[in-house]
Symmetry: C2
Subunit: 302 residues, 2 copies
């Protein structure tokens, strides 16, 4: 088992290690950057496999933004989770229209597999996030012995919140829990989502679009309770302007008779990393609970 | 009591509020940016005055870097301290030589009052940090009723660690405690400090330079124990290259028979915000202890 990853930097962080990695992706046909945080529990003299929380970033972000500003390492260190911060799209392709706007194309993949040209060959982020990246991590010579492939959860912010919710709903049993900060919860009904889906999936085909919309997907959910935590700031301009629509998601969850969504409106918080950092502990704790980590004494000290 | 500050932004953060402010400084003759974090304890329905921890940033930084990446808000929120993040120099002056290098001039004031032209009229950051800024904050119509002028501590990073240590040592009794991350501890003996002091104070006048060097200042310390916490990463290239020299500071403290310095070498940590974020809780806790906050139940939950 060789490593398919190249390590570009290593940082000590909260008693663990933050690795900046790149690897060649078959799904996207490009090099992909990914940051991995290994908590102290993975680095003991006798290392043991730790569960993994995938964090999907929002529009415009690289893996570094949340790594530097999200504060997820704080609780991950104490509770013993690894964190994986993938990139938000392929980069460096120079496809037509790919860089014309900040909310479409580069750094704006919406974590789906595009079916419309010219994006269909490279914008295959659903395959990358759910299959290729975890497979590469779990098969890696170094990381594979530290990361527990059987215990994985997912979270994300904004476009990444949409990613987390939809990938969770599309793959029952794959992730132990899901959480999201200010997720784009009903993309077929908001400008960001409509623009992205038109570009990546072709002009409006309601059936096709709905397959990538959390509010639509939850109507067909056949799993047990959702194990979902969602935070939205009441001062978030994108929430106020109807880009997020968590109320539609909540209504669909209720209408479907599904249990297990905790949706919290956080008074005065905006869409920024200040919002996420404030509740990062809660989201890591939520994942840890469903990954079976909370019997450990560590949780008491959060 | 009017406000001399203009609020440019407000963010909800860890249950409190982060204010981005600017005000006109007489000391520097320029507008100065400053960020202030108010913990929940300052914002209760019946607000009570909270103690204040000043954080001095390092070379190249604005008030925003530590605000976004330092995570001092986490413990400050729980323990009930306000945080003040001043800027690292005047800006926008366009003095000769001010922008020629990243380690001198703009964003590199070294928190001293310059005596050499052309910097002597505006680079008066010692006066600004120790007198003008706190006076303006404590006299402010809004902030003055929330911040306790009688309970103030100081911390900082790198150049700001030098600032924290020297301003603490120059002003016995002014600050309840001091701490520093990777401080430039003996600037008269390192390239960064020698360049700065030559530019701001004139070419080498050993007597004058020594007045702004923590390792020299501690030799004349007449206060009681230092109440000082210093963290240095063993993987810090600036430490390895002799820019920080905490060992000289420690030796001078010992030689002077002074107690109360806790110097910790943190294995593998570098000079970055990943290092600071990892130990921010400890430094806020250190200040809180000396500001009389640790009897409160809040400390238990850190």
């Amino acid at each position: 088992m060789a490593s398919s990853f190249t390590k570009t930097a290593t940082f000590a962080s909260f008693g663990g290690k933050l690795l900046k990695l790149t690897h060649a992706s078959t799904a996207t046909g490009t090099p992909m950057a990914v940051n991995v945080y290994l908590p102290p529990a993975a680095l003991q003299p006798t290392p043991s496999k730790v569960p993994v929380l995938f964090y999907l970033s929002g529009l415009t972000c690289t893996p570094d933004n949340a790594t530097e500003k999200g504060f997820f390492q704080h609780a991950a260190s104490k509770l013993g989770l690894a964190l994986v911060f993938p990139d938000t799209s392929p980069r460096g392709l120079n496809l037509p229209g790919e860089k014309d706007s900040w909310d479409f194309g580069e750094a704006a993949s919406f974590y789906i597999d595009a079916t419309a040209a010219p994006f269909d060959k490279n914008y295959r982020m659903e395959t990358y996030i759910t299959s290729e990246l975890p497979a590469a991590l779990f098969a890696d010579a170094e990381l594979g012995s530290l990361l527990d492939a059987s215990r994985v959860a997912i979270t994300g912010h904004s476009m990444g919140g949409h990613g987390a919710l939809t990938l969770y709903l599309k793959n029952p049993g794959k992730y132990a829990s899901v959480s999201a900060f200010a997720p784009i919860s009903n993309p077929t009904r908001c400008p960001w989502g409509q623009k992205a889906f038109a570009g990546y999936l072709g002009s409006e085909d309601e059936g096709e679009w709905r397959k990538h919309d959390a509010t639509e997907l939850v109507k067909g959910w056949t799993g047990r309770d959702l194990k979902a935590l969602v935070d939205v700031g009441t001062g978030d301009k994108f929430y106020q302007n109807g880009q997020l629509l968590p109320e539609n998601f909540e209504a669909a969850v209720k209408e479907a008779g599904v249990e297990g969504l905790e949706l919290r409106y956080q008074d005065g918080y905006d869409h920024s990393y200040f919002f996420m950092a404030s509740f990062a502990d809660d989201h890591v704790h939520h994942a840890a609970k469903h990954l079976g980590l909370l019997d450990k004494a560590a949780s008491a000290s959060l």
